[in-house]
């Protein structure tokens, strides 16, 4: 029972990390259909933001690591969002009808961004100082819950809440949904789909930046930090189904739990293999993911 609860918490924590890295993808991949392989490097860019704030501009913040970390959340959003926006405007907007080629081009961009990070910040990994109020831990029913992990769970809950509110109440959010559900009809109704695409991509990229700031709490960061998450993140979106956040949320926590338990029963590498086989098996039953739009079109 004790170990079960422990694995349950690990699964919840893994799920929240998967969700936070995949959340941005539900916009860029799920809504726009752009396979942005450089999403991982947007995460990386976000992860370097608290590092830069703490080491380079630490003096202005009075050397307070915690304040720098909190400030990094919105700044990381802006930095990664801006980076994504530049990518969308310069490259992706020109390749709208070539999704597979977009995958390859963004992969090339991700390689260049990784090398740029190595040139800027050095090849070795760096540490971000976690705020002192996140270094403690709680114990509940014998399960040790580090504050940092709880913080990520809380952060992802807040983000999901903010994003859903944005999508359902703000006019910009409603326009995004309109373009996602029927691009041609939205264009005919007078929406500038190009502008909406830019907004969507900015939002998705910005969320990657916030995820980057969050993952600095888990371990050291380097040029590979985003690449380590990207494949899992895409799996989450595929399993969840495109277009709806609900599917992504269920998929993230489902895969997180499965990962935690299969790794506990076998080993880290075998656990991952089991996870992958489970995904393939799942897609046999629901090729379009958990939650998908009903369509009468042939090419779903």
């Amino acid at each position: 029972m004790q170990t079960f609860l422990e694995q349950l918490f690990i699964g919840l924590s893994l799920g929240s990390i998967l969700l936070i890295v995949a959340l941005g993808l539900t916009f860029t991949f799920g809504q726009m259909g752009v396979i942005n392989m450089a999403h991982g490097e947007l995460i990386m860019a976000g992860a370097y933001v608290p590092y830069v704030l703490q080491t380079k501009v630490g003096g202005a913040l009075g050397g307070r690591a915690g304040l720098a970390f909190l400030a990094a959340l919105p700044i990381g959003f802006a930095v990664a969002g801006a980076l994504g926006l530049v990518m969308e405007r310069t490259v992706l907007a020109r390749m709208v009808d070539r999704p597979l080629d977009t995958l390859l081009v963004t992969f090339g961009i991700s390689l260049m961004l990784q090398q740029a990070a190595r040139d800027l910040f050095g090849a070795s990994n760096v540490e971000v100082v976690a705020p002192s109020w996140l270094s403690g831990r709680w114990e509940l029913l014998g399960v040790v819950m580090p504050h940092s992990r709880l913080f990520i769970i809380a952060l992802v809950a807040v983000l999901v809440g903010l994003v859903s509110a944005f999508l359902s109440t703000r006019p910009e959010g409603r326009r995004m949904r309109a373009v996602m559900q029927n691009r041609d009809l939205a264009a005919i109704s007078g929406l500038s789909t190009r502008r909406v695409d830019a907004t969507t991509f900015f939002l998705g990229s910005g969320l990657a930046g916030v995820a980057g700031v969050a993952v600095t709490l888990i371990g050291s960061i380097g040029s590979q930090v985003g690449a380590g998450y990207i494949i899992d993140a895409f799996l989450v979106v595929i399993v969840g189904g495109l277009g709806k956040m609900r599917g992504t949320i269920i998929a993230a926590f489902g895969l997180g739990m499965l990962n935690a338990f299969s790794e506990y029963w076998t080993s880290a590498s075998l656990g991952k293999a089991i996870l992958f086989i489970a995904v393939i098996a799942f897609l046999q039953f629901r090729p379009n993911g958990l939650v998908s739009f009903q369509t009468r079109g042939l090419t779903g």
Binding site: G33, I35, V91, R94, M95, D97, R98, P99, L100, D101, L103, L104, V105, F107, G108, I109, S110, L111, M112, Q114, Q115, R118, D119, A227, I231, F234, L235, I238, S267, A268, S269, L270, K272, A273, F276, V279, I280, L283, Q284, P287, L298, T299
Partner: protein, 388 residues
Amino acid sequence: MTATTALAPASAAGPAWMPWARRAALALGVVLIMAGPNLIGDPTRTRQWAEYLCYAMIAVGLDLAWGYGGMLALGQGVFFGLGAYAMGMYLTLEQVEPGQLPQFMSLYSDYTELPLLWRPFGSLWFATAAAVLVPTLLAAAVGWLVFRRRIRGPYFALLTQAATLVFWLLLVGQLKLTAGTNGLTNFTTIFGRNKYQPDTNKFLYYLAAAGLVACVVVARQLVNSRFGRLLVAVRDGEDRVRFLGYDPALVKTAAFAVAAGMAGLAGALSAPVIGIVAPNQFAVLPSILMIVWVAVGGRGTIYGPLVGALAVSWLRTRVSETRPEDWEYFQGLLFVIVVALVPGGLAGLLVSLRNRLGARLGAGGTAADGPVGASPAATAPATAAVAE
């Protein structure tokens, strides 16, 4: 329609001297490959070119899946790796006396005798057959499961990439069987020859060249057959092919399996050439780089990917020998420039050059019946069809 014309055999159109030019180029290519070791001279370089020839095999196979079949397979490293490990296991066992354990096993494991998985790999024939058949059958099984459920496009690409990650993790994790990150190495005796003898490199080079020729012959036969036409048709309009009564899943699975078999053969031939079989050779990044070979040479052509693999690999050696950091940027730029701006690759450039030349000379085909895909304007819709 555009896509079919764009990627159809170029011999169908063009000026009258074209078939002769093609034959001459082909003959020159064969002579160059055969005379390779004598032209290169240096044994180390010969070995490197043998490695590139193995990569060309992968590219030829991958082009069947991606160029002709429209399946963006980002997991060829898995099949390449399976082939390499099959041969690597044979070579490892060749170094030890019968009944003895490979060195790494006595270090990492408590095996007292050879594990069951390793035993048959004492035979060269078994190892070679396994190197080709295991990837082929695995690809057939996975492909059938995936294509049957009409999982395609980006989803297929991302799944193959995830498979590569899992494969890498398993290789690293199953230390007792695979020697982990270090990999299988120290092959001093290769097929009964001493590694340090200079003509061993030559021998391996010709072995790789023979493998490449075999792959090209198989690819040519497939592409020019009814199956090849069906494959291109599936790429350009899967649903239409289904309405005509064919099963696209079967066609795609077959092409994917052949591509995997070629990657497996390349792996088997590359293991003695490279001299080490380690997980990092088969990770996510090298697997996706294989796509660049095909893209640079020209997807949907037989010889383009071959040339692309040789050229990119050669360039890689040259650049990373002098400026290793720059290669990372270069590699990334290559992806962006080739895929975004020159989707036809070198072959596409050649065709558009030929058309311009043909138009100027006024001989044979006019611009109207030349391959449409050659002009930049028409290439975009062609690749859009590929991308579906």
